[in-house]
């Protein structure tokens, strides 16, 4: 990892994996910056938040709550609940980062988002991926998020809405990463279960609990079905 060529290669491959995330972060980051500025946050507060929090949905909720006059305690509590889903992602990543030193893990954890998790996990599963490339993905995504949100706060109101279908970048990325995860019948079944449970939960229960709730229910059902079919075979 010390020689120059290798570092370049890690950066190149990391960037090759990260660009769909970065593309998706541009419109969302810009939109966030515009919104924050409308609520009255100065650009440096947007910069501070993107560095200190780095969580898209929680940042949007924070700005909405600030606009509604919520207390800091209420905002922090909501952030905690919204980001609990990362417990699941962090646990899954532990399978691939086994035995890695704690300093690295502490730095790596900072960059665990829905997007970087999905991209890195897919690469880890395919093999030919390591923690340095994964860390590069995290940091490039973070840098893009930072730049896009600050740009949004400064000049966001001049950017046209919905240009070039860029609002679909993250949806398209999630669809493709979902396809990569479909490695067997149990995975396909789990996907259908998760969609059904998620949409029902989303419609019935306010808030964001549908993500954690549906994922855990669907994975548990899928796991039970897998065990059952394994056992019933002679």
């Amino acid at each position: 990892m010390t020689d120059h060529l290798n570092k370049k290669e890690v950066l190149r491959q990391g960037a090759g994996a990260a660009w769909p995330i970065c593309l998706g972060y541009l419109p969302i980051g810009l939109a966030f910056g515009v919104l924050a500025q409308k609520v009255g946050l100065p650009w440096w507060a947007v910069a501070m938040m993107s560095v200190m929090v780095f969580a898209g949905s929680a940042q949007f909720i924070c700005v909405a709550m600030l606009g509604a006059g919520a207390s800091a305690a209420a905002i922090i509590l909501t952030t905690f609940v919204v980001n609990l889903r990362h417990v699941l992602m962090s646990s899954v990543l532990a399978v691939y980062l086994r035995g890695v030193n704690r300093a690295f893990l502490a730095l790596y954890s900072y960059g665990v988002t829905d997007e970087s998790f999905a991209v890195n996990l897919t690469r880890f599963r395919d093999g030919a991926w390591d923690r340095w490339r994964a860390l590069t993905v995290n940091h490039l995504a973070n840098a893009t998020w930072f730049a896009a949100t600050v740009c949004g706060a400064l000049v966001g109101q001049f950017v046209p809405q919905g240009a070039l279908g860029i609002d679909y970048a993250l949806t398209g990325m999630f669809i493709c990463l979902l396809v990569f995860q479909l490695q067997g019948r149990v995975h396909i079944l789990t996907a259908f279960l998760a969609i059904a449970i998620s949409i029902a939960w989303y419609l019935l229960i306010p808030g964001d609990s549908y993500i954690v709730g549906a994922s855990m229910c669907a994975a548990t059902l899928g796991y039970m079905i897998k065990r059952h079919t394994r056992r019933s075979k002679p």
């Binding site: 800091a72 922090i76 646990s91 399978v95 900072y110 999905a118 493709c176 990463l177």
Partner: protein, 107 residues
């Protein structure tokens, strides 16, 4: 709000965001995990991705009501087929964006 107000607010938000991201990784990466946990965690990514996508594709996210046949869903079908056929992440993202952009003009 002043700088110290923002520091307290973002510091608190940052902490409750960081801990759920860090603690499971720091704890589990240095323990031997039981097989049932590994098998269960194996199904979590597919479940999370599906759960995240479902409202985008099947609901009116402003009104939080069921909606079948929205543009996001119609575009998702060829995007999914393209992903299955090519297994290219970058290509799929670009095809999805292009179709969504074109679809927005006629839909």
């Amino acid at each position: 709000m002043t700088f110290p107000d923002y520091l307290v607010l973002f510091g608190g938000m940052g902490l409750v965001t960081y801990l759920p991201r860090a603690l499971p990784l720091l704890y589990l990466a240095h323990r031997k995990m039981p097989q049932w946990l590994i098998d269960w965690l194996d199904l979590i990514p597919v479940a999370i991705l599906s759960a995240l996508l479902a409202p985008t594709l099947l609901a009116d996210t402003a009104a939080r009501t069921f909606q079948f046949g929205k543009l996001e869903l119609l575009v998702a079908i060829p995007t999914l087929l393209f992903a299955l056929k090519t297994r290219s992440l970058g290509g799929t993202v670009l095809v999805g964006m292009l179709l969504y952009w074109l679809g927005g003009m006629v839909y």
